[in-house]
């Protein structure tokens, strides 16, 4: 058998020349029928309308921000990064799931993760799109984004972030597109089910795929290269995001631990997002045969591992400063542990890390519903954790705040900020929903190949 030898970044992958599966049996037909994209039902339509309304409210709030300036937000001289930046960090974090499920699992030979790859890639793409949008929203006037290119300095981590987010966005598109090609061929066979417009779209993006061994060879090679490339880029994207904070001398951000701390948190929230999506798609599209309890069991274990890892980094991040309690950081730390931010802080720690560990270490906790609930807890906890990374630090500068208006001393987002933030979250979920309507949420070709391998 001919082997593909791919040598890149020191990794050699031996892989047999792909066998082109032929769809012959009734079993194959059943798999295809199960996995073809389905039209929205009543609940699906309500869900899309609901998300669209939230997006529209967010767009109206953004219109107000464009018209009246950033003054409509609660951000002032001290808290100049509010929930927009918290949300940006959250989106960047969740986008890392694409590299975890698709790339790391694939490179590590984790076969059971195959049905989850499309979900992970779609979430990653939606998240990175809205990470880019929300950072432009934070700039106030969108034309300032253009200034980044004409006046940007390569010495600034902000420019690194722009470069690396653009790169990650492009890789995410390719990583979604390449594995889709064999599925497009299948989708094109079901013109009536897809509808005319969707069929035209499939035709446009993948009619050239005939499924020849040569095409498979090129495609598999490309996917392997992408999997290798996306890992360092994914690590870079979140490390650079952490450096936006860590290169700034402020209480809570002055840490050498930040890159690893952010990446651990990103993998956790990404995995949390995937289990939530797994559960919802499994229920909505009746995919119990493909996303099995075993997947939840395995993802539950992954979540425990990632929760423990993130908890470890959090202990590192807070225990040593708490032990030293430097005067310049005392107000910040006390604010988190026992002060104004304590409810949110302990909520994020308990709901986002400790309870998930407690629930998931038990076998019963790794059933679909508990894993779904834990996934929701992890995602919600993670969002508030990002808020805690940004805001308390800005409210506790090293130099005391003197002679400033009372509104500068506190931060609570305005309705416009909430609307834009919720609109962006709804927008990301809308992209995931629409992509799940357009493309098979579980790779059909891979499932068929796997089935054939089992049969053999």
């Amino acid at each position: 058998m001919e082997n593909i030898k791919l040598k890149a970044t020191g990794v050699i992958i031996d892989e047999p020349l792909p066998q082109v599966p032929t769809i012959t049996s009734a079993a194959d037909q059943e798999i295809i029928n199960d996995l073809l994209p389905q039209k929205f039902g009543k609940i699906g339509k309500i869900w899309v309308i609901f998300l669209s309304i939230i997006c529209l409210i967010g767009m109206y709030a953004y219109y107000r921000q464009l018209r009246y300036g950033l003054a409509v937000t609660a951000m002032r001289d001290y808290v100049s990064w509010g929930i927009y930046i918290s949300n940006f960090v959250f989106f960047v974090a969740i986008s890392l799931v694409g590299s975890l499920i698709t790339a790391i699992f694939r490179l590590a030979g984790v076969k059971w993760g195959a049905p989850l790859t499309r979900i992970a890639e779609i979430i990653a793409l939606a998240a990175i799109v809205f990470a880019s949008i929300i950072i432009i929203v934070d700039m106030g006037s969108p034309e300032r984004f253009y200034n980044l290119f004409i006046h940007g300095r390569i010495q600034s981590p902000i420019i690194w972030d722009v470069i690396v987010i653009t790169t990650y966005f492009f890789i995410s598109i390719l990583l979604l597109y390449y594995p889709l090609l064999p599925d497009i061929k299948i989708l094109l066979r079901f013109k009536e089910r897809s509808g005319k417009r969707l069929n035209q779209f499939y035709n446009f993006i993948g009619s050239f795929w005939i499924g020849s061994p040569e095409q498979f060879k090129l495609s598999d090679k490309a996917i392997n290269i992408l999997c290798i490339t996306i890992v360092p880029v994914a690590f870079t994207i979140h490390t650079v995001t952490s450096w936006l904070f860590a290169t700034t001398y402020r209480p809570g951000w002055d840490s050498t631990n930040f890159g690893a701390y952010f990446i651990a948190g990103a993998f956790l929230v990404g995995a949390g997002g995937v289990v939530v999506a797994m559960y919802v798609f499994r229920k909505a599209y009746r995919l119990e045969k493909y996303i099995t309890e075993n997947h939840f069991e395995k993802m539950g274990r992954v979540l425990v591992l990632l929760s423990l890892l993130y908890l470890y980094f959090n202990i590192n991040e807070f225990l040593t400063p708490f032990f030293k309690m430097k005067e310049s950081e005392a107000a910040y730390l006390n604010g988190l542990f026992t002060g104004d931010f304590a409810p949110v802080f302990w909520f994020a720690i308990l709901i986002g890390m400790i309870l998930p560990i407690v629930i998931l270490v038990f076998k019963k906790g790794r059933k679909p519903l508990p894993v779904f609930i834990v996934g929701v807890m992890v995602v919600v906890g993670a969002w508030f954790k990002r808020y805690l990374i940004v805001t308390p630090t800005l409210l506790h500068p090293f130099l005391p705040m003197h002679d400033v208006p009372a509104s500068y001393l506190h931060y609570f987002p305005s309705w416009e900020e909430w609307a834009i933030t919720l609109g962006s979250l709804a927008g990301a979920m809308l992209i995931v929903t629409l992509l799940a309507r357009i493309f098979p949420i579980i790779p059909i070709q891979e499932t068929l190949t796997e089935q054939h391998e089992k049969d053999v």
């Binding site: 390569i154 010495q155 009619s207 050239f208 005939i210 020849s212």
Partner: protein, 290 residues
Amino acid sequence: MKRMYKTVGPALSIIFFLSGYCLAQGPQKGNVSIAVNYFVQNNQIPYVKVVAKTKVDGRFQPVPAIDVDVFLDKDSTGTKIGHLVTNSKGEATTLIPQSLKKEWATSVKHTFLASFAGNNKYEASKGDLTVAKAKVLISTNDKTITATVLDMKDTTWQPVKGVELKIVVKRSTGDLPVNETPTFTTDSTGKASADFKRNNIPGGPSGNITIAAKIEDNDQYGNLSIEKTVPWGAKFIPVNTFTERTLFATRDKTPIWLLFIAYVIVIAVWGILLMLVINIIKIKKLGKAN
């Protein structure tokens, strides 16, 4: 009777009111203390500084914006040095004008008279200061500084013994004594010497520093000082990185190593991505060929 009440009552009220108004004293005026100081720097034209203060709650406070006339020796129009207005610190200065050169030359001692005529807030006040003409010279030899104090006796300059003075290095924030001795006293030859012990003190790019001899608030001579520039400082060439390639420079001054690393990474990653896009074109061609 009722009519009487009606007329006498208001009349008494008016009288009472007017008497109170007429007999009332105005607000008490404050006292101003006028001090006169005399300065000669580098043996050039002397100048006079007037300082006006008043006591408020037991503490002296400057009196700004008052008019003070300063005279030489006697309070007359012909000997008027100038009309001054104090600033926010209660101070005002004036040079001795050329028109008083003749009067200045007539005596080795002079009295400066400062007169404030008073205003609606302060009582009138006067101050005076008598000084003898004197000068300070400075010379250096092998890092030894010698200050000489001379005063005018008749028409010649004579050395003065027992005058206390400071020998210092001038710095941007104040004066630094040249060694551990804070003050020096002149000997019978009118000289006081000090060894310069502030080695390695930063000077300019040429290592120049300014040393000075100062007589301060002397009862006889006022404030005299003289300066001299000497090359005894450490040469200090400020390092200006503004035009150099640094991490904090402008975009056109990015360090080469950073540009190299950034470009290598960007080209490598985007090169791979470009290759993958070309790969799609190859797949497309394969599909069309079949």
